[in-house]
């Protein structure tokens, strides 16, 4: 019996190759998208899960009236450990977020994130230096470990696990330091680092004012966290209030409370931080599930559309004594086979797409990883989709009444009409939203790429540098040497580069107005190097002695802010300096498109400013390679402190990173639009097939009565046409609200475009007509006699 059923199933699938392919292929594509989402979901929700105490680790944070922070002072953790026995372990860490240059002979690595941890923190966080975690001796010893990659770069031939000496800084400056070994940096953890330095105790002698540590608690299983949280707040108040008498201070202290935030929540929704990653994950998951369910429903529809062909088989089998459940089981088995094929195909597809996906989201996901959960998730999914996609067709098919079916009196119910129409509208609505979104993202990105920035980032080379050049006289010899290299047109140094980072703010007074504005300290040739446009007055120039003392250039926004109609020659006072305004520049988009250009003052001398370290050079394009080579060769001589560590970046690339987020979004929308459109069309195809199959007789009669092909195609298309128009209209407000919200995040943006709405409607209608007509054409072209013969 089973063998026979299998034969019937295979023959049937083979006979309807086209439909089978569409059915299985459509499901496979949706499933592939779902697998990717699942991988991503598992990855995002399993940060630090390998930590054996994952569930019991908490971060201590503090809540001020207007913000939350994870930064806590060292004594707090100690007090907590002392007072509350439910706290099993307490440890603190602190990051070093400036760049360290480490050398071994000619090998160099740069670390940006060197973590300091006390011994218990290392235990709690399950830090694993090769050879095991060692306890440092006494109060002063620090055991330093470098990430495996860095260690390999510094000591490529090292095989043992012995400590090594490295040089910190340029080899001319030479400070030797000991590295005890290597340590695995787990990127799938909330605590990442380039290196770790472990001491027995951190922050000795620091008090409650030193809020720059992260405090980790490992609680005993079963601890009442809410209760502990309250006790910690009380303890914190008690400690801070010691000896405090000032009413105001006491109130202020009482306004601060503490919280415990599980380690498990740190990656996606930390209490002190934003939960955007969590929201994105949820949105993506919902989208994935939706796509899968819709694909399943499409599968169902297509299967039922095929049902007429199987009706006779069911009728005959029933007459010969088959039970309904046997038939249902037979159809379920058939659908399981198709779902299984779809799953295999989906895995292949996902594997093909994964590199692009990883690239886009800067991840390293893999299907062939035992710990990604796919091993148990996939069979479950297979089972689920078989049930979702299969139950209904199995019921319908096995439920045919033999007497009716054999007489050829076969009609499917109209009850599901609303459901089908609704589903189709829903599918198209989603697709329409994504298409409109994609168009609008494209338009904004195109605008961002073509819009005049007010400065030129092309051919500007930014040199990473650790020497300080606040005094123009110190930079002058460096500039002279640099300009000797052919192709280099100008050189300057400043406290910042226009790559989207915020400048400092300070209070300045001019024209009787006191206002907080941005300031940036520059050197000669800053505006020339960046090709910034002058509005009036002049740029800084060596010809004017005063420029290194108290000249300032402001931008248009600053002039407007102070209401200076005639700024040149006016004074602007700030930072104990009476600046004289010598020039006004046009605003330029130093902070990308999301943030508006701020009122800014530029000066060479600024007692309040940070040291100038950011060197920028303008280089002729066709001499770029030679100039860079020459710079690299001469750098030790040009800039002793940096020495052989000549590192550079192109400013346009740095500025381009400001677009990265939008480009990611663009890719996601592109994929989502293609996927949802594809699935909607698949649904439409199934529906159109179903409808035309049900109207074959009608089509034949109309044809005999003289209807032309075009009239018939119009007839079949019209109902779908209306559905798709409805879907478009439903989507418009949603798409409008969402895209408008997105556009509002830009300070510089396109006017809200209407065209995408029109284009999307046209596109979806065109696709609809093509899809339906492909389906309808067969029925229309068929000989009407055949359709009417076998009633």
């Amino acid at each position: 019996m089973f063998k026979l059923n299998l034969k019937i199933a295979l023959r049937n699938l083979w006979r309807n190759k086209g439909i089978t392919a569409i059915n299985v292929g459509g499901l496979a594509i949706a499933l592939a998208a779902f697998i990717l989402v699942m991988l991503y979901f598992t990855y995002e929700t399993s940060f630090d899960k390998t930590n054996p105490n994952y569930k019991n680790i908490y971060v201590v944070g503090r809540i001020y009236p207007d913000f939350k922070t994870n930064y806590t002072p060292p004594p707090l953790g100690k007090a907590i450990k002392q007072h509350f026995p439910e706290v099993e372990k307490m440890g603190i860490t602190k990051g070093i977020f400036f760049e360290l240059v480490l050398k071994n002979g000619n090998n160099t690595v740069f670390t940006n994130n060197f973590l300091q941890a006390d011994y218990t923190a290392a235990e709690i966080l399950d830090l694993k230096p090769t050879g095991g975690l060692e306890k440092p001796a006494g109060d002063v010893e620090r055991l330093s470990y470098l990430s495996k990659e860095s260690m390999k770069a510094l000591f490529p031939n090292k095989t043992d696990n012995k400590p090594e000496m490295v040089t910190v800084g340029s080899s001319l400056m030479g400070i030797k330091n000991k590295i005890n070994g290597s340590i695995i940096n787990n990127p799938h953890s909330n605590v990442t680092f380039d290196g770790v330095s472990i001491g027995n105790e951190l922050g000795q002698g620091e008090n409650y004012g030193h809020n720059n540590y992260t405090t980790y608690l490992q609680l005993k299983p079963g601890t009442d966290v809410a209760n502990l949280q309250e006790k910690i707040t009380r303890l914190y108040h008690a400690e801070l209030l010691k000896g405090e008498t000032d009413r105001e201070t006491i109130d202020k202290i009482k306004g601060i409370s503490t919280f415990l935030d599980p380690l498990a929540n740190q990656h996606l929704k930390p209490k002190a931080g934003n939960d955007a990653p969590y929201k994105i994950l949820i949105a993506l998951s919902v989208l994935g599930i939706l796509i899968l369910i819709i694909a399943c429903v499409n599968f169902t529809n297509l299967s039922i559309a095929q049902a007429t062909k199987r009706a006779k088989e069911v009728g005959v089998k029933k007459v010969m004594g088959a039970f309904r459940f046997q038939l249902a089981l037979q159809f379920l088995t058939e659908i399981l086979m198709q779902c299984f094929a779809a799953t295999v195909l989906a895995l292949i597809l996902a594997e093909l797409v994964l590199p692009g996906f990883n690239n886009l989201f800067l991840l390293k996901l893999s299907i062939w990883h035992a710990d990604n959960g796919l091993i148990w998730q996939l069979p479950l999914i297979l089972f689920l989709i078989t049930v979702i996609a299969g139950i209904y067709p199995a019921m319908v098919l096995s439920g045919f009444k033999p007497a009716l079916v054999l007489k050829g009196n076969f009609a499917t119910s109209k009850q599901s009409y609303w459901l089908r129409n609704g589903l189709l509208v829903f599918q198209f609505s989603i697709a329409v939203i994504f298409i409109i979104g994609l168009f609008i993202i494209n338009a904004q990105l195109k605008y961002m790429r073509s819009q005049d920035l007010g400065f030129k980032a092309e051919q500007v080379v930014y040199i990473k540098n650790i020497a300080l050049f606040s005094d123009p006289d110190k930079f002058e010899p460096v500039r002279e040497k640099i300009l000797k290299i052919p192709g280099i047109k100008s050189a300057t140094v400043a406290t910042g580069i226009p790559n989207g980072t915020a400048n400092g703010t300070n209070t300045y007074t001019s024209n009787g107005v006191q206002a907080s504005i941005n300031y940036l300290d520059v050197d000669f040739d800053y505006f020339e190097t960046l090709d910034i446009k002058l509005k009036e007055g002049r740029f800084f120039s060596k010809a004017f002695k005063t420029d290194t003392a108290n000249s300032a250039v402001i931008n248009e926004s600053a002039a407007a802010k102070y209401g200076l109609s005639n700024p040149i020659g006016q004074t602007i006072i700030g930072c104990n300096t009476n600046y004289k305004i010598v020039g006004v520049i046009k605003d330029f988009k130093d902070r990308g498109f999301e943030n508006a250009t701020q009122p800014t003052i530029y000066a060479i001398k600024d007692p309040c400013g940070n040291p100038k370290m950011e060197i920028m050079l303008k280089i002729e394009e066709n001499k770029m390679a030679d100039a860079l080579a020459a710079l690299k060769a001469q750098w030790p001589e040009i800039n002793k402190l940096d020495g052989e560590n000549f590192r550079y970046a192109f400013l346009d690339e740095l500025y381009g990173k400001l677009f990265k987020k939008q480009e990611q979004l663009q890719s996601v929308f592109f994929a989502a639009a293609v996927l949802t459109v594809f699935i909607a069309l698949l649904g439409l195809y199934a529906f159109a097939k179903y409808i035309t199959n049900g109207r074959l007789k009608e089509i034949a009669v109309r044809k005999i009565l003289g209807a032309t092909d075009v009239q018939l195609l119009k007839l079949i298309n019209s109902s779908f046409f209306i559905l798709v128009v409805i879907a478009n209209i439903i989507s418009w407000p949603v798409a409008y609200i969402v895209t408008n919200m997105w556009l509002k995040t830009f300070a510089y943006r396109i006017d809200f475009p209407v065209l995408p709405f029109v284009t999307t409607t046209l596109i979806t209608l065109l696709l609809t007509i093509v899809t339906v007509s492909i389906q309808a054409k067969k029925a229309v072209n068929a000989n009407p006699v055949d359709a009417l013969k076998y009633e």
């Binding site: 009608e698 034949a700 006699v785 009417l788």
Partner: protein
């Protein structure tokens, strides 16, 4: 009006070739009522379909008045059909989703008859067919005889020169069958040419001439004297 010569029609399937029409010669005069009879599978329906331009024969000639129809292309065939022919089927083939009125109106729409004119024509024929109080009903709400009357009405509303009927009473009991036959006779009396396929000699007795088919041949022809006398 119709002159058919050496008509041949072969159905080719993967396994067998069936010669459904094997050199048929036939004529039908204007205003005549012709019955075609013969055993099952002898090619009656095939012949009717060819005459209705629903199927194409392999060879032969089919002249309608003086036009050779077999050389027409699809579009011309379709146009010729909708202007000159009406069909009545054994299983009525009414469109379930349309009312009686709309079913009858349909061929007029395809013949691009203006709406007011359509209404007039449909109402006229509904009256003639005695189904006035049924015009808003759907086919399922009618008896078989009523359905067939609607089908006949639909075939006639365009005032075709030729009506082709394939076993029009096949699905009806004798009293309903008679109703339909009388209708066809009335129609014939007003000048419409009718070709009808039937298994019933009772039905055939309503016609002027009976043609017997076997294995795709015309084997005999009989003029129905009583009917012809009536005619005169």
């Amino acid at each position: 009006m119709i002159k058919i010569e050496k008509l041949e029609k072969v159905y080719k399937t993967e396994e067998v070739e069936t010669t459904a029409l094997n050199g048929i010669d036939l004529y039908v005069k204007e205003g005549e009522f012709v019955s075609i009879m013969g055993p099952s599978g002898c090619g009656k329906s095939t012949l009717l379909n060819v005459m209705g331009l629903l199927d194409k024969p392999e060879s032969g000639s089919y002249k309608f008045i003086d036009t050779e129809l077999l050389t027409l292309n699809d579009r011309e065939r379709s146009n010729f059909r909708k202007r000159n022919m009406g069909f009545v089927f054994q299983n009525f083939n009414l469109i379930d989703e349309l009312t009686v009125f709309e079913n009858i109106e349909l061929p007029l729409i395809y013949n691009k008859v203006p709406a007011t004119e359509r209404k007039k024509l449909v109402n006229e024929i509904i009256e003639r067919m005695n189904i006035v109080n049924r015009s808003g009903h759907f086919p399922q709400q009618l008896s078989g005889g009523q359905q067939q009357r609607v089908a006949v009405a639909r075939a006639l509303v365009t005032k075709p020169k030729l009506v082709l009927a394939d076993e029009p009473t096949g699905n009806l009991d004798s009293s309903h069958g008679n109703e339909v036959m009388e209708l066809l006779c009335e129609l014939n009396e007003t000048g419409t040419t009718i070709v009808m396929v039937t298994h019933s000699s009772h039905d055939a007795s309503f016609s002027n001439r009976i043609i017997n088919l076997k294995d795709g041949h015309v084997i005999s022809e009989k003029v129905n004297k009583s009917r012809n006398e009536e005619l005169i």
